[in-house]
Symmetry: C2
Subunit: 329 residues, 2 copies
């Protein structure tokens, strides 16, 4: 599945910006360039950069609202860098060995330098936001705090039984905060009205939910080769992803007993993971997830009517929404 | 040894500010309040806040340059919060169990939430700097990046033999960056001239070196009860503190062989630590350290002549310098 035009249009510009933002001679800077996929371990240039969803959204909003795309670049970069800071630390917290098909930072350079690398990435992100301006930096700072709180909840939920409401609370922070912020920065950088800014953030919230739920589904039913991370690892870590939250909400009798028994264990085996997937399928958790993705994308689409998009802009958003619903990685 | 007046004058104001900056209902916010010493684990108020050197320096500079101390508070807090963010992550990286006489965050809440707590502290720090202004936030952002690079070097040096020059390079980043920034923020917040700002930063650099070298000496020859951290732990972790850098620079023959043999080991025993201390003493590393502390404080004192201090201000600085030279914790 090819990337939609909206994610291709600004790609070269963003990659150029990332290269500039992450220049620097320290060995930590080299680790940052490795992480985002600009360089391999030997410092040779590679084409390993991810989808760039968040900065592309910033620049798309700016362009549609007739702002200056080039000038908006630092703000767009600040979101992508913040996202990457969180990924470096998340990979440590989740003990993930692979990210975008390449070894994670901590698995190559150790947990200690991994912590430092993430810290530096957060700082570089903020320095880009400060180039954009004080209001932009404040928006990013708020969103970052929310994202970290969401990450805290995600960890906390590994030990708790949660329902769909708490799941969404966590996702609105962990994933939603940055995607909302992408829309907010776009609005700020284009000088949009506060009302339009709020509408755009509401769209970001819907897309954030759709994006994360799709991610959760791919983590269980996706192709590990395509997603770039091992299948079932979320379940093994007792992550309360959407299908699990659905299952806990729906399970009675035997299924409930199985889930309780497995999630009561300190460590899950491959067999446990397999049994959980059987229960999820029996309880229709995958279908619920797919329906939720479609619903949130459709809410986003409704709200988009209140945004003055160009004809091309509308087409490209539709393409993006379609992509988010079906993406396999 | 009592705290000097300069560290007492603004203490109540800073603690009040920290309490406000770290309010928040999430469990991560409670961890932040625990870490800085505002609350115990149960959320009860305690008096456990550290020396508050950095924010006190900011406010002192502001007051001496006739700026508005109350208005300068967010800037001062931003430095203290950044310092505390680095401590939470440092404690993880150094596997330290005790900080200021209390269990470290990661030892109570786990490494994962420790990473998140440090991340959130960095974000809260930046949000305070943004209240101060864009120039102040940019200054903090630069200093934070330098500090993290210094922390990266500190880790890297665990595996390298380094001399005094590289030690100072690391200290000027790891410790110096924030202390220089304290003086810089003071200058910015009081609207000082660029020349005065530079003079103040140069003073910060000298104080930073004196402060860190004293810290290194206390880590080996200090009283673990007073310093709040176990004696010899720096050596056990193969940290290249000043006495070790001196020893590697001076050792020949037998002492050189002993150091090489011990530092070539994967893990150091208590006996190894004892043997290293004997070598340090034989090579006069403690005396060199004490002389360097005195020299850097004296350089700071010289440069202070170019700062228009009040009579009281001059007295209080002298008292602080005297304290930094002799402090036992």
């Amino acid at each position: 599945m090819n990337l939609p035009r909206l994610l291709l249009r600004y790609r070269a510009l963003i990659i150029e910006g990332l290269t500039r933002a992450l220049h620097g001679e320290s060995s930590l800077h080299a680790i940052l360039r490795y992480h985002v996929g600009l360089e391999d371990r030997q410092g040779e240039a590679i084409e390993g950069v991810g989808k760039l969803l968040r900065p592309s959204l910033v620049l798309f909003v700016v362009e549609e609202l007739r702002g200056d795309v080039e000038k908006a670049l630092p703000g767009a970069l600040s979101i992508e860098l913040t996202h990457n800071f969180s990924l470096i630390h998340d990979d440590i917290e989740d003990c993930d060995l692979v990210r975008r098909g390449r070894p994670t930072v901590w698995s190559l350079y150790g947990v200690k330098q991994g912590i430092n690398a993430g810290d530096l990435m957060q700082t570089v992100a903020m320095s880009q936001a400060l180039i954009a301006g004080r209001a932009e930096a404040s928006a990013l700072s708020e969103a970052t705090a929310e994202m970290i709180e969401g990450q805290g909840l995600d960890l906390q939920f590994e030990e708790e039984e949660i329902g769909i409401a708490r799941y969404l609370e966590m996702v609105d922070k962990k994933t939603g905060a940055l995607i909302r912020c992408a829309f907010r920065l776009g609005a700020l950088l284009a000088g949009a009205s506060p009302i339009l800014e709020e509408t755009l953030m509401a769209i970001g919230q819907e897309l954030g939910r759709a994006f994360q739920i799709r991610d959760d589904l791919l983590g269980i039913w996706g192709d590990g080769v395509q997603t770039g991370k091992p299948q079932g690892s979320d379940i093994r870590q007792k992550k309360k992803t959407l299908p699990i939250a659905v299952a806990f909400a729906r399970a009675v009798g035997e299924e409930c007993a199985i889930l309780r028994q497995i999630y009561g264990k300190a460590e899950l085996t491959d067999t446990d993971v397999g049994r959980v997937i059987v229960v999820l399928e029996k309880l229709g958790a995958k279908d619920v997830g797919e329906k939720m993705v479609a619903d949130h994308l459709s809410h986003a689409d409704d709200k988009l009517r209140n945004v003055p998009l160009s004809v091309r802009g509308k087409e490209e958003v539709n393409e993006l929404i379609d992509y988010l619903a079906r993406r396999e990685r």
